[in-house]
Amino acid sequence: MIEFFHVSKRYPSGPVALSEVSFRINRGELVFLTGPSGAGKTTLLKMIYREEVPDEGHILVNGRNVASLPRSKVPYLRRSVGVVFQSFKLIRRKTLFENVSYLPRILGLTASEQRRVCHEALSRVGLANRMDAFPSELSGGEQQRVTLARAMVSEPEILIADEPTGNLDAELSMDTLRLFLEFNSRGTTVFIATHDGELLKRAPGGRRLSLLKGRLVSDVQLPSPAADGGSSQVLAGDVGEAR
């Protein structure tokens, strides 16, 4: 699904962002990408949707070599990858429906179809009744759920998130994680960059890749709920009940 082969990246007049990074993520996996600030997490995620290109190495997403993808094909790659940011990136003067309906509109859906798919996407994050509200009327947690709805409106195969809980308190972070787990339980490959230790502790399994100064320093499987004595049971049990 996502494969990195000896990927390196250095920004002009800057430090090495990534160095010889190689890994493979299979379809339907839940993967956390950890590391301190400046470790290269954001650069790595940006390469998946071709916001950045590597200086060396290859990146395959669904079998397509992203690094050599022609510019005209990049939009089609991005339609198969949902992206969530820490800073939400919602348009304040647009309603939730308008914020979520970008891709349906681009895909040429009729107005009623757009409304239907946006309603479904917002339903999954518990905001179906707020379609005509504006982002400023929502809490931070709710805004993050809207960005999740926007990312998942066309049900992409891959969902990536860059510090999705960075602006949320502990409780809202767990709510957001539940939503990610729910999408993962439906078969979506979820790749989350975070340095939120609490989030990782509460995660019911999954895999953790760790970056340090641009190098992949560890690739470990997180303990599953059964293996860690049930400390993650609450979250695992909540999956599918986020609505």
Binding site: Y49, S72, P75, Y76, R78, R79, K89, L103, L107
Partner: protein, 303 residues
């Protein structure tokens, strides 16, 4: 998304953007309007002077005044030379008496001046009406020179001389118009581009999100092209309306000066109006292309 719904989307987004930032849009329209007004002013002058020249060329005439006391055979040879080229439509001979009568008819108040003269005051002449295309024929000037040097010819008076001067003036007007028009249109393109770039900058977050979710560049840039097109067309309409009002005022003015007749004799033809609208549209789209090319260098989805 099919083309029709894409165009409708572009139009809707462009209108929203124009309304949202109406003040800067107005400045763009005004700047383009000024540039296009100057272009249409010169186009109007060119059109009116050209049509005036054309109508004068239709009635082009050559008068060959005859040397008195020459043999009739020489006069006939001159008449033959005059009739020879294909551009001569007709030749008529005017006697010295007829010329005197014409003068008295045309200027009755001056007729007493010539009444007591023993000799007719004007020489006899040959008058030839000429087809308009003759002016462009290189053989015309040679033929005219041959007439002037004919022994039976006293003087040759040709309308072509001052029509040529007017034609040169028209060329100057056209040249100045094209130069000034290009300068103002370039300024209009750059102003439009700066304003659209500002609009694109104000909407950079939305553009970034569109790119992030997989919008093609056609979809991202389409609304800006349409916005540029609307600004350009609005500028052209503003220019044509202003020109129309000025033409009306010049036409209704108490005294019509020669220059006002030359410039505003007749409003722009339909083709001229459509050309100005087309130039306006292209100017607006060019502005959008320039602005997005600059903006494109800074593009990115995550800001």
């Amino acid at each position: 998304m099919n083309l029709t719904s894409a165009l409708l989307y572009f139009l809707r987004e462009a209108c929203r953007s124009l309304l949202r930032s109406w003040k800067i849009s107005f400045v763009a329209v005004l700047t383009m309007g000024i540039g296009l007004f100057l272009c249409s002013l010169f186009l109007l002058a060119f059109q009116n002077i050209s049509s005036l020249l054309e109508s004068w060329s239709q009635g082009l005439r050559i008068v060959v005044y005859l040397q008195p006391d020459r043999d009739e055979a020489e006069y006939e040879a001159l008449a033959k030379e005059l009739e020879n080229p294909s551009w001569v439509a007709s030749v008529s001979r005017v006697s010295a008496e007829e010329a005197g009568d014409r003068f008295r008819e045309a200027f009755p108040s001056l007729s007493s001046l010539t009444r007591d003269w023993e000799e007719p005051p004007f020489p006899a002449s040959l008058e030839a009406s000429i087809e308009a295309y003759a002016i462009d024929d290189p053989a015309f000037d040679t033929w005219l020179e041959a007439l002037r040097s004919h022994v039976a010819a006293l003087m040759v008076d040709a309308d072509q001389d001052w029509l040529g001067q007017l034609s040169t003036f028209l060329g100057l007007v056209t040249g100045a118009g094209i130069t000034l028009g290009l300068v103002f249109l370039t300024a209009a393109v750059l102003t439009g581009a700066s304003i659209l770039r500002l609009v694109a900058h104000l909407q950079r977050e939305e553009i970034a999100i569109m790119r992030l979710v997989g919008a093609t560049e056609f979809f991202v840039r389409g609304p800006f092209y349409v916005e540029g097109l609307i600004q350009g067309l609005s500028g052209a309409i503003l220019a044509l309306l202003t020109l129309g009002v000025i033409t009306l005022l010049a036409d209704r003015g108490p005294e019509q000066a020669l220059w006002s007749g030359l410039l505003f004799g007749q409003f722009l033809s339909l083709g001229g109006c459509l050309s100005i609208l087309a130039v306006g549209g292209v100017t607006g789209i060019l502005g959008a292309v320039v602005s997005l090319r600059r903006e494109g260098r800074e593009e990115g989805v995550t800001g």
